[in-house]
C-alpha cells in the first residue's frame, strides 16, 4: 500500500524530522485558507498515487492565496494516469540551496533494509543509479540493531561537508529509519532532502510504501488507506479476500493461485488475446468468493469472454463449480464462459456444472485458446 505525500510527511514529522509547514485541502477554499495562513509563495501539489505529477500539471507554484485557490480548483478533480485528484497539499515554496536524496528500502537480494543516499537529489533516483552510480552511497542495516550512529554519520558525510549539516542529516537518517520500521514500510524516501540558504536541513517531499503484510498489526497505518484513490473493483475484491488487478483486455480471468493466474494471462496473450484482469481467488476458496469474483469480472464492460482456470489442490473443484452455478443463477451471464477444472473433486465439479448446463474442460491450453476465440482476437 502506498501512502500519499501528505501522509508520509505526517509520519516523518511525527518521527521528529523537520518538514516545512503546510496542510492538505479538499476544496479550493481550504487551499486558499492554508495559503493565507502560510503567507508568501506556496506550492499546490496533487495527492495521487502516480509519478510524474509535475509533468501532468498537478504541481503549481502560487504567488498568493488567490492564486493558490485558482490552482487548487484546476488540480482538484483532474485525472493523472487515470486517478482523480481529490486532495491537494499546500506548502510554502522553499528556498533551496542544495537537493539530496535519502531513502531506505527492503532489499530482497541482501535480505535487509538498505539505505541509499545521493547528493544528486530532486530527480528520479533510479535514473541517478543508472547514469551516475558513483553518486549513490548504499549501506545495509542489520535490522536487529537498526541504523547505528556512526553509520548514519558515514552516510551524511557523503551528502555534506559542513559538520553542522552532517550531524543534522545523520539525525534525520536515524529518524527516517525509525519511521520506516514503525510504519512497516518496504520503502521510505525523502526526495529531495534540501539545505536552505540559512543552512537548515529539511525534508521537502516524502514517499512511503507499506508492506501489505504489516497492515493487520498496524491499524493506525491501515487506516491511512485511501480507497477513493483506487479502482472500485479492486477495493471490492480486496474486501472479499481476492487479489484482483484490472487490465485492458477482453478475456476475464478467474484463477486459483497467483502464479497460475499470471501464467493464464500469459497464455491468453500467447493465443493472441488480451487479459482483462489478474484475479486470484486464493487457496481454500468457498463458493461465495467465486460469486464475488464473477460479479467483479462481469461488471467490466470490456470483458467479452470469461475464463475459469482452476487447479484443485487445496481448492476443491466442486466448491468452485457451486460458486459458478450460484453466481450465474443470480445474474444471467451476457458473455460466454469457458471453464477449466482439474484436480481435487474434478468429477464432482463436472457433474455439478453439467446439471446447470455448463461444460468443463481439463486442459489449460485448450480452455485458454477457446476463451480467446470467443472474445474475438484483439491482437
Amino acid at each position: 500500500m502506498n501512502l500519499h505525500e501528505y501522509q508520509a510527511r505526517g509520519l516523518l514529522k511525527a518521527a521528529g524530522i523537520p518538514v516545512p509547514d503546510g496542510d492538505v485541502a479538499t476544496t479550493p477554499a481550504e487551499a486558499e485558507a492554508i495559503a493565507t495562513r502560510l503567507g508568501g509563495t506556496v506550492v499546490v501539489k496533487a495527492q495521487v498515487h502516480a509519478g510524474g505529477r509535475g509533468k501532468a500539471g498537478g504541481v503549481k507554484l502560487a504567488k498568493n492565496a488567490k492564486e493558490a485557490r485558482e490552482h487548487a480548483s484546476k488540480i482538484l478533480g483532474m485525472t493523472i494516469k487515470g486517478l482523480t485528484v481529490e486532495k491537494v497539499l499546500v506548502v510554502p515554496a522553499a528556498d533551496i540551496a542544495t537537493e539530496s536524496y535519502a531513502g531506505v528500502i527492503l532489499d530482497r537480494a541482501s535480505q535487509r533494509p538498505v539505505f541509499m543516499v545521493s547528493p544528486a537529489g530532486g530527480v528520479d533516483i533510479e535514473e541517478v543509479a543508472a547514469k551516475t552510480p558513483e553518486k549513490i552511497m548504499k549501506l545495509g542495516v542489520d535490522p536487529r540493531y537498526g541504523l547505528l550512529s556512526h553509520q548514519a554519520m558515514q552516510l551524511a558525510f557523503f551528502l555534506y561537508t559542513d559538520l553542522g549539516q552532517v550531524r543534522a542529516a545523520a539525525k534525520i537518517l536515524q529518524q527516517l529509519y525509525r519511521a520506516f520500521v514503525d510504519a512497516g514500510a518496504s520503502l521510505a524516501e525523502i526526495n529531495p532532502l534540501v539545505t536552505t540558504p540559512d543552512g537548515a536541513v529539511v525534508a521537502l517531499d516524502a514517499k512511503i510504501g507499506v508492506d501489505d503484510n504489516e497492515l493487520e498489526r498496524k491499524p493506525a497505518i491501515a487506516a491511512l488507506r485511501d480507497a477513493s484513490s483506487e479502482n472500485p473493483a479492486e477495493v471490492k475484491a480486496r474486501e472479499a479476500g481476492l487479489s484482483f488487478i484490472k487490465l485492458d483486455g477482453a478475456v476475464g480471468c478467474c484463477v486459483n493461485g497467483a502464479g497460475l493466474a499470471m501464467a493464464t494471462m500469459d497464455l491468453v496473450k500467447y493465443y493472441g488475446g488480451e487479459p482483462a484482469n489478474f484475479l486470484d481467488i486464493g487457496g481454500s476458496s468457498n463458493p461465495d468468493k467465486v460469486v464475488t469474483a464473477l460479479e467483479i469480472i462481469t461488471s467490466d464492460p470490456n470483458v467479452k469472454a470469461i475464463l475459469f482456470n482452476i487447479f484443485g489442490g487445496i481448492t476443491r473443484c466442486d466448491d468452485v463449480a457451486n460458486g459458478i452455478v450460484t453466481a450465474t443463477g443470480r445474474t444471467k451471464l451476457k458473455v460466454p464462459m469457458v471453464i477449466r477444472l482439474t484436480g481435487t473433486n474434478e468429477e464432482l465439479a463436472v457433474q455439478i456444472l453439467q446439471k446447470a448446463g455448463f461444460s468443463a474442460l481439463t486442459d489449460m491450453d485448450e480452455a485458454v485458446e477457446r476463451a480467446v476465440e470467443l472474445a474475438g482476437r484483439t491482437a
Partner: protein, 292 residues
C-alpha cells in the same frame, strides 16, 4: 534420492490442531510422511487423531520424539516466532507454509537461522514433496510420481500444473520444492539447483519463476557455471503491468527491473531451455535429452 526431505524426515507440525494444520497433517500422514509430533500451546499431552502426540512447545516435541524437521501452519502474525522456536529447538529444516508474514520480520529471522545452521523453506510456500518418500506441506500427492526430475518453483498451483504435465508424460520427480512467493525467503533457486545437481537420482531440472527481483537471473548464472543436467525454465507474469503486486508479495516489477523478459533472456543466455507456456515442459525436456 531426493533433496531436503526423505524417509528419514521426522516431522513436527506447528499448529497441528488448527484448520489448515489438521487437514494437511492428515494428508501428510496418508502420504506416508513420518509425522512424529504436533505442537499447540495448551494442548500438550493430547493426541492428534489418537496417534500423533501433541506438545506445548517444539522443544518438548523434539526432546521426546527426536523430530528433525518442522512444518508451520500458524497464522501469519505468529509465524516468525514459530520459526525462531523451531530453530531454538534444534530441528535442521523448517518449512513455513503461512502466508502474510511481514517482510521486516523475515529480515530478522534470516540472520538468526544462519547463525543456528537451520534451513528454512518459505514462508508463503506450498512446501516440498519427495514422491514415494515424504511430503511436507500442501502439494497434492496425487499429481506426483517417483522419477528423476527435480522441480523448484516460486508458485503453488502453477507448480501443480507443471508437475501434472510431467507426471502425465511419465516424467516422475525426485523432489518438488515450492520456495514461496515472498520477497525474502529462506531457500532460493540456487540452494535447490545445488541440491539437484548433487543428487545422483535427479536427471533433469525444471525451474518455475515469476516477475520481481533478480533470483532467477542469479540462478541462471549459477546454472551456467555449475549445472550439467538438462534444465528448462518458465517465468510467469509476461503480461504483468509494472508497479503492481500480482498476488504474491514478491511478484512486482519495480522500475525496469524484475521483468519476465529480462529473466527469460537470462535463461536463454545461460543455457536454460525457455518454456513459453507450461505445456512446453515435456517437449523441451525431451529436446534436451531427458527421458522418463
Amino acid at each position: 534420492m531426493s533433496i531436503f526431505i526423505d524417509r528419514d524426515t521426522k516431522l513436527v507440525v506447528q499448529g497441528i490442531t488448527g484448520r489448515d494444520g489438521s487437514f494437511h497433517t492428515r494428508q501428510m500422514i496418508e502420504y506416508g510422511t513420518n509425522v512424529v509430533a504436533g505442537v499447540t500451546p495448551g494442548k500438550g499431552g493430547q493426541k492428534f487423531e489418537s496417534r500423533v502426540p501433541i506438545f506445548n512447545t517444539v522443544a518438548d516435541a523434539v526432546a521426546a520424539t527426536g523430530a528433525n524437521a518442522s512444518v508451520i501452519y500458524v497464522p501469519a502474525r505468529f509465524a516468525a516466532d514459530a520459526v525462531y522456536e523451531a530453530a531454538d529447538a534444534g530441528v535442521r529444516l523448517v518449512v513455513c507454509i503461512s502466508e502474510g508474514v511481514p517482510v521486516l520480520d523475515m529480515t530478522r529471522v534470516m540472520p538468526y537461522l544462519r547463525e543456528h545452521g537451520v534451513r528454512l523453506i518459505g514462508p508463503n510456500c506450498p512446501g516440498a514433496i519427495s514422491p514415494g518418500k515424504a511430503k511436507v506441506g500442501i502439494i497434492p500427492g496425487s499429481i506426483c510420481r517417483e522419477g528423476g526430475v527435480g522441480v523448484v518453483s516460486r508458485s503453488g498451483t502453477l507448480t501443480y500444473e507443471v508437475v501434472h504435465q510431467l507426471t502425465r508424460a511419465g516424467f516422475g520427480q525426485t523432489t518438488c520444492v515450492g520456495i514461496g512467493g515472498d520477497p525474502i525467503i529462506g531457500t532460493n533457486f540456487i540452494d535447490c539447483l545445488e541440491g539437484f545437481q548433487a543428487d545422483p537420482e535427479t536427471t533433469a531440472i525444471v525451474m518455475i519463476g515469476e516477475i520481481g527481483g533478480t533470483d532467477e537471473q542469479q540462478a541462471a548464472e549459477y546454472t551456467k557455471a555449475h549445472v550439467t543436467k538438462p534444465i528448462v525454465g518458465f517465468i510467469a507474469g509476461q503480461t504483468a503491468p509494472p508497479g503492481r503486486r500480482m498476488g504474491h508479495a514478491g511478484a512486482i516489477i519495480s522500475g525496469a527491473s524484475g521483468t519476465a523478459e529480462e529473466k527469460m533472456a537470462a535463461f536463454e543466455r545461460c543455457g536454460i531451455g525457455v518454456m513459453k507456456r507450461p505445456a512446453d515442459v515435456v517437449p523441451l525436456l525431451r529436446e534436451r535429452g531427458a527421458t522418463p
